[in-house]
C-alpha cells in the first residue's frame, strides 16, 4: 500500500475536457470516494491512475515513484470494473489466479493456490472456485472481480462503480463487506460512484467532481454539512436539497448577498396552521415510504420536499406554516456564504 498523489492532472478527448487541474492526495490506507454525475470525469481519473489513459498534463505519483509515463503493468494498481470483466473462458479459480500467473510475477503453483484460496474465503466465493465465471450470479461475479483485485496486494485499489449493476439488497451487503475488507487489510482505495449512499457510508473522505474539476474534498460529514457550493450541496441528501429564493420563507438571520438558500429537512420547521390565512403554505401531497414520509409542501407556487415522521398526522391540503432554521446560504457565484 502507498500514498497516491495527483498533481495538476488533465486529460481531454478531442475538444471535450474530461479532467482539468486535478490535485488529490490519497493517504496510505485511506478510502477515498469520488462522487459525481455521469461525465464528470470520475472514470477518466481512475483510468489515468491505472495507466489506461495518458494524461495531457500533470503527474501521478504512487509512493515515491513518478508513474506518469509507466505502463499499467508497471504501476502495481488493481482495478475493479463496473461490468466485472471476468474472463469468460476461465473458471473462478483461474480468474483469481490470473494476476498471479502474469509472467511479470514469478509465483509457484503452490503459492498461487494458497493465495487464491485465502482471497476466495475473504470474498466468500470459496465454494464456487471450480465454476465457470459466466455461471455466477451478479453478486458472485462482483465478489470474484473484487477478489481478483485483492489477490496481489497492489499499492492502490481503483474501483469504478463496482456495485452499480447489482440490486439494492446485494449492493447494501457488498458495501458493508467491501468496507470490512478494506479496513481488514488497510488498503488504499479510490472508489468512484454516483451513489451518495455508497459515498457517505464507506468513505474516509469524499471528493465531489463536476465537469472534470474536483470541487470539494472532505469527510462525509464536512461535505454534507458544509458544502463549498450549490453543486456540492445538491449532490448529497435525500430528498434533494430545496433551493429557494431569499424571502420566500421566514428566516431569523441572513447574511448579505444571498441569492439562493439551500434547505434540507433539518433546516425546515413545519407547523400545522389553523387556517390558510395564518399559514404560508399547504401540504400538496404525501409519499409514504414505510418508515418515513416525503412531505411535499407548496409555498407560493414553489414546491418544498422534506422528510417527515409518518405519524405526524399531516394530510394533503392541510394549511401549514413553514420557516427556516439555520439553512445554507449561497451567493451570486453559487459559493456558500460562511460568515453568517
Amino acid at each position: 500500500m502507498a500514498e497516491v498523489r495527483l498533481e495538476g492532472l488533465g486529460k481531454s478527448f478531442g475538444t471535450s475536457r474530461a479532467v482539468t487541474g486535478m490535485d488529490l492526495v490519497i493517504a496510505d490506507g485511506e478510502f477515498v470516494v469520488l462522487l459525481g454525475p455521469t461525465g464528470a470525469g470520475k472514470t477518466t481519473t481512475l483510468r489515468l491512475i491505472a495507466g489506461l489513459e495518458r494524461p495531457d498534463a500533470g503527474s501521478i505519483r504512487i509512493g515515491e515513484e513518478d508513474v506518469t509515463g509507466l505502463s499499467p503493468a508497471e504501476r502495481d494498481v488493481a482495478f475493479v470494473f463496473q461490468q466485472y470483466s471476468l474472463y469468460p473462458h476461465l473458471s473462478v479459480f483461474d480468474n483469481l489466479a490470473f494476476p498471479l500467473k502474469s509472467p511479470a510475477r514469478r509465483w509457484s503453483a503452490g503459492e498461487i493456490d494458497a493465495r487464491v484460496r485465502d482471497i476466495a474465503r475473504m470474498v466468500r466465493i470459496d465454494h464456487k472456485l471450480d465454476s465457470k465465471s459466466t455461471k455466477l450470479s451478479g453478486g458472485e461475479m462482483q465478489r470474484v472481480a473484487i477478489g481478483r483485485a485483492l489477490v496481489r496486494e497492489p499499492s492502490i485499489f481503483l474501483m469504478d462503480e463496482p456495485l452499480s449493476s447489482l440490486d439494492a439488497k446485494l449492493r447494501a451487503d457488498l458495501r458493508l463487506e467491501l468496507k470490512r475488507i478494506q479496513s481488514e487489510i488497510g488498503a488504499t482505495l479510490l472508489y468512484v460512484t454516483h451513489d451518495q449512499i455508497e459515498a457517505m457510508t464507506m468513505a474516509d473522505r469524499i471528493g465531489i467532481l463536476a465537469e472534470g474539476h474536483l470541487t470539494q474534498i472532505g469527510s462525509p460529514r464536512e461535505i454534507y454539512t458544509a458544502p463549498a457550493n450549490l453543486h456540492v450541496a445538491a449532490r448529497l441528501g435525500h430528498p434533494h436539497i430545496n433551493l429557494i429564493k431569499p424571502g420566500l420563507l421566514p428566516c431569523q438571520s441572513m447574511p448579505d448577498g444571498v441569492r439562493t438558500i439551500g434547505a434540507r429537512t433539518e433546516h425546515i420547521l413545519v407547523e400545522a396552521a389553523a387556517s390558510v390565512a395564518q399559514g404560508n403554505g399547504r401540504v400538496d401531497w404525501i409519499e409514504h415510504l414505510g418508515d418515513q414520509n416525503h412531505l411535499h409542501i407548496l409555498v407560493d407556487g414553489q414546491k418544498i420536499t422534506l422528510l417527515a415522521d409518518p405519524y405526524s398526522g399531516f394530510k394533503a391540503g392541510d394549511p401549514v406554516s413553514v420557516s427556516l432554521k439555520q439553512p445554507l446560504f449561497f451567493g451570486a457565484d453559487d459559493r456558500r456564504i460562511t460568515d453568517v
Binding site: 491505472a50 495507466g51 489506461l52 505502463s71 499499467p72 503493468a73 504501476r75 494498481v77 488493481a78 482495478f79 470494473f81 461490468q83 470483466s85 474472463y87 469468460p88 473462458h89 490470473f98 494476476p99 502474469s102 509472467p103 511479470a104 510475477r105 459466466t134 481478483r148 496481489r152
Partner: protein, 317 residues
C-alpha cells in the same frame, strides 16, 4: 386465468410450426445430399453401370473406381496375364479381369497432398494475418481506417478470375508458376480480405475491459491478446477458417491456369482421369469422394464453433 400455465411462451413457436419447420429442413437436407450420394454411389459402380441409362439405383458395388483412381494400368495379352502369378491384391485382380495389369501408382495422391498443403497453408496464413489486422483495426486508431477497410473489401468486388492474366504473367516472371508457395500466396491474398472483415466483427464484440484488466494485472499487450482475446475469438476464428478453407480447397480456375505439374491440386486433376473409351466415371467419383473427406472432417470438428460463428456474434455469450 386458470392455474394451469402452458409450457410455451408467446415467442416460442407452437408444436405444429416446429414440425413443419423440421420437415422442411429434412427435405432440404435430402435434396442437398442427393449430389453427394450420387457421387459416392458412382464411385462404387463398375464403368458400364456408371453410364447405363436409365441410371441404376441398385447395383453390385465394386472398388474398381478406387483402384483405377490410385493406379495406372496397361493392356496386355491374355497369354502374358496368364503367365503371371496369382494377383497380389484386389486391384490387380480387377485389372486382369479387364485384360490389364497394374503398372504403378497414379498421380492422384501427390495431387491430393498438394491440395492439403496449399489449402491448409493458405487458410492458416489468411486467418493469422486476418486476426492480427482485425485486432489492429478494432483496437487502435488506424489513420484512414475506414478507407483501408474499404480498400481491403474492394479486392472482393470483382471475380478473382478477372485478374487471371496479369497474375499469370506476374507469376511467370517471379517464378511462382506451378509452385505450392505461389498458390498459397494467391489464396491467402484472396482470403485475407474476408478474414479481416469477419474477424473484425468478432473482435469488436469482445469488450476492451478484458484486455485492460489483463494489462493492469501485469500482462503486456501481446500477452493479453494471446491469453484473453484469442480464447474469446475462437468462434470467429473457426468460422473464418472454414470459409477460407472451403474457398482454397475448391478453387478450380486459378489452379487450372497456374499449376500443371508439381504443384497441381486435386480439382484440376480429377477431370483428367480418362479411362479407355472416355471418362472413367467411377474413378472420378472415387476421387471426388475422397476429396470431400478433409472438408467434412474439418467442418465436423469445428461444427460447435461454426453454428455460433455463422450467426456473426448475434448470440455470443
Amino acid at each position: 386465468m386458470s392455474g394451469l400455465s402452458s409450457a410455451h411462451s408467446v415467442v416460442e413457436p407452437g408444436i405444429w410450426s416446429k414440425r413443419i419447420a423440421g420437415t422442411l429442413v429434412v427435405i432440404y437436407a435430402l435434396i442437398t445430399m442427393i449430389p453427394l450420394l450420387w457421387i459416392f454411389a458412382t464411385s462404387l459402380k463398375s464403368p458400364p453401370d456408371s453410364i447405363s441409362y436409365p441410371p441404376k439405383i441398385l447395383f453390385t458395388p465394386t472398388v474398381e473406381g478406387y483402384c483405377n483412381l490410385f493406379t495406372t494400368r496397361s493392356r496386355q495379352t491374355q497369354d502374358y496375364i496368364e503367365s503371371l502369378g496369382p494377383p497380389a491384391n484386389v486391384c490387380e485382380e480387377i485389372a486382369r479381369d479387364r485384360s490389364m495389369v497394374v503398372v504403378g501408382a497414379s498421380k492422384y495422391w501427390p495431387r491430393f497432398v498438394n491440395s492439403l498443403v496449399i489449402a491448409f497453408g493458405s487458410t492458416f496464413l489468411a486467418v493469422f494475418l486476418g486476426t492480427l489486422a482485425a485486432y489492429g483495426f478494432s483496437r487502435f486508431k488506424v489513420p484512414l481506417a475506414d478507407d483501408l477497410l474499404f480498400f481491403i473489401l474492394s479486392t472482393r468486388m470483382m471475380p478473382p478470375i478477372a485478374v487471371a492474366i496479369p497474375i499469370y504473367l506476374m507469376y511467370r516472371e517471379l517464378g511462382l508458376s506451378d509452385t505450392a508457395l505461389g498458390m498459397i500466396l494467391l489464396y491467402t491474398a484472396v482470403n485475407v480480405s474476408l478474414a479481416v472483415w469477419l474477424l473484425k466483427g468478432f473482435i469488436d464484440e469482445i469488450p476492451r475491459e478484458y484486455e485492460e484488466a489483463a494489462l493492469i494485472d501485469g500482462y503486456t499487450r501481446l500477452q493479453a491478446f494471446v491469453k484473453v482475446v484469442l480464447p474469446q475469438a475462437t468462434t470467429g476464428i473457426a468460422a473464418t477458417a472454414i470459409f477460407c478453407l472451403i474457398f482454397a480447397w475448391n478453387e478450380y480456375a486459378f489452379a487450372v491456369l497456374l499449376t500443371s505439374g508439381t504443384a497441381q491440386t486435386a480439382p484440376p486433376f480429377i477431370p483428367t482421369i480418362i479411362g479407355e473409351g472416355g471418362m472413367d466415371w467411377p474413378a472420378v467419383g472415387a476421387g471426388t469422394t475422397i476429396f470431400l473427406v478433409p472438408i467434412l472432417v474439418f467442418t465436423i470438428l469445428l461444427r460447435k464453433h461454426l453454428l455460433r460463428g455463422i450467426t456473426f456474434g448475434a448470440v455470443r455469450k
